[in-house]
Symmetry: C2
Subunit: 308 residues, 2 copies
């Protein structure tokens, strides 16, 4: 499947020390997240917000945002408030998705879900608080960037969460639960919104902050859409093939919830091949940036090779 002319690039990507890169970036992000939300009054709500925001995870979204700003020649520090906001938004969506009225999940990232610890009322409010704070945090803390760009970033963030993004994807997902006739088209509609929209926002926000051209934005959007869909396909595959311990969340959940998934529609092998094809296209989009694109390309590669 891999074309000959891509081979040297793929070798460079394999040589890129992604593990060290991700570890260093994750540490930076963890520190920034911890500082972004100090305790206040009433303490309970800050504790609930911090419980989920600081629960670990790969921090892929903030890292994508920082890496994109850097790819386009900006210092990554200028994108840090937005990177934190992206993780706040992601965390909000996890807290609300886990609620009994939604996916009703007890564990997330190997720990009890927010509502299992703080109760449903506080979990709903912690999500609301994180969502609102994401916008406030970008608006108040982004430095050395023109207000025009900040307004654009805030618009992108809003769109990624709303009915055209996360929320719309989750509604469609809930709607399809237990249905046996979900098409690949519908499934892709769901995931383009539920996972893809926010991943695309990570990259677009980083790009806008760094003053991207419209060509940059097009390339980076395709990159993000592809890795978003590939990420979801692999997620579906891992739900079938990995253990709960490996995942840090309940495995086999899609089957027990009778969810439509790619492995169900296409089988595991075809799903894996499709994910690899998407990632290859994503990598090719960024060839024009040369070596500077290696972190983003290596992240794309990692998505199809990850085990959790």
């Amino acid at each position: 499947m891999i074309q000959t002319e891509l081979k040297p690039l793929l070798t460079s990507i394999s040589d890129f020390d992604l593990k060290t890169y991700l570890t260093t970036e994750k540490e930076l992000v963890e520190k920034a997240l911890d500082e972004s939300l100090p305790l206040g009054k009433p303490e309970k709500i800050y504790e609930a917000m911090r419980y989920s925001l600081l629960a670990g995870g790969k921090r892929l979204r903030p890292i994508l945002c920082l890496a994109t700003a850097q790819l386009l020649g900006e210092k990554k520090i200028i994108a840090m408030p937005t990177a934190c906001a992206l993780e706040m938004i992601h965390t909000m969506s996890l807290i609300h998705d886990d609620l009994p009225a939604m996916d009703n999940d007890d564990y997330r990232r190997g720990r009890l879900t927010n509502h299992k610890v703080y109760g449903e009322d506080i979990a709903i409010l912690a999500g609301d608080g994180l969502l609102a704070y994401a916008f406030e945090y970008v608006a108040e803390n982004t430095k050395n960037i023109s207000a025009e760009r900040i307004v654009k970033v805030l618009a992108i963030l809003g769109k990624a969460v709303g009915a055209e993004g996360l929320v719309g994807g989750q509604v469609m997902d809930l709607d399809c639960e237990g249905k046996s006739d979900v098409t690949a088209e519908t499934l892709t509609f769901i995931h383009r919104r539920k996972t893809g929209a926010l991943l695309e926002a990570c990259v677009s926000c980083g790009a806008v902050l760094a003053g991207a051209s419209s060509d940059d934005l097009t390339r980076l959007s395709i990159y993000a859409q592809n890795i978003g869909l590939a990420f979801q396909i692999i997620d579906d595959i891992l739900d079938v093939t990995a253990t709960s311990e490996e995942l840090g969340k309940t495995a086999g959940k899609d089957i027990s919830a009778q969810k439509a998934t790619y492995p169900k529609l296409w089988g595991i092998e075809t799903s894996q091949a499709k994910a690899e094809e998407l990632v290859k296209d994503a990598i090719e989009q960024l060839v024009v940036y040369g070596e500077k694109a290696l972190p983003l390309q290596a992240i794309a590669q990692y998505i199809v090779q990850r085990k959790n």
Copy 2:
């Protein structure tokens, strides 16, 4: 209680045709709200968002925002996207507050609450969608205003919703339910956040959009804080004295939920006097603007005289 020098002003306020003013402004706002959120896919979520956003109500928050921009010499149309966003945020807070895990209310503005019609899952997501869209809408639709001011407005909106605002107030409120020893200080902490923060944001956003000076902002903040608290005191009083039909929501709910209220702490008469005192101070803050302040002053007056 009313001082002699305020008498002529109070006469002007009484002569101001507030009823016509509010009717005209409400019509403008209703039209703008209807246009702000056209149906999209998946339809169910847009319907759920529109169900609550277009459920009527006084539209006091958007009207306050428009009136403030106008008071400071701006065309009110420039504040309309922000005015709509404030109502989206208010609506989100009502949808989430009404959920079974929170206040568990079946009726709101004389109609079934969002989750009674669409289910809890969709109601949570409709709230999330409205909250995110509020920010997106301001960022994308505010015209002829500098990006610097738009960023400030978005920061104010975020703060008004988060743990320092609505969310923090609701957490404290839930915490105090059924407690017999809630002090006036705690009650005021709750209401400054639960009602006051957003009302203050309405006025501050209108002011920032119109390029307010820091003196303007101080005066208008005091005005808003006072009418916010007065509004809540009167709400508490009406919960005791009005019928469900008059209110368009369940009356006597505070008593049955054993909520701390001002009438409970101070008695109805003292509560009413305190609300009137707050409103008088609010009116005085705006004397410096002369006749242009009449709409805001008449709104303040209306808050203590309203019957629902």
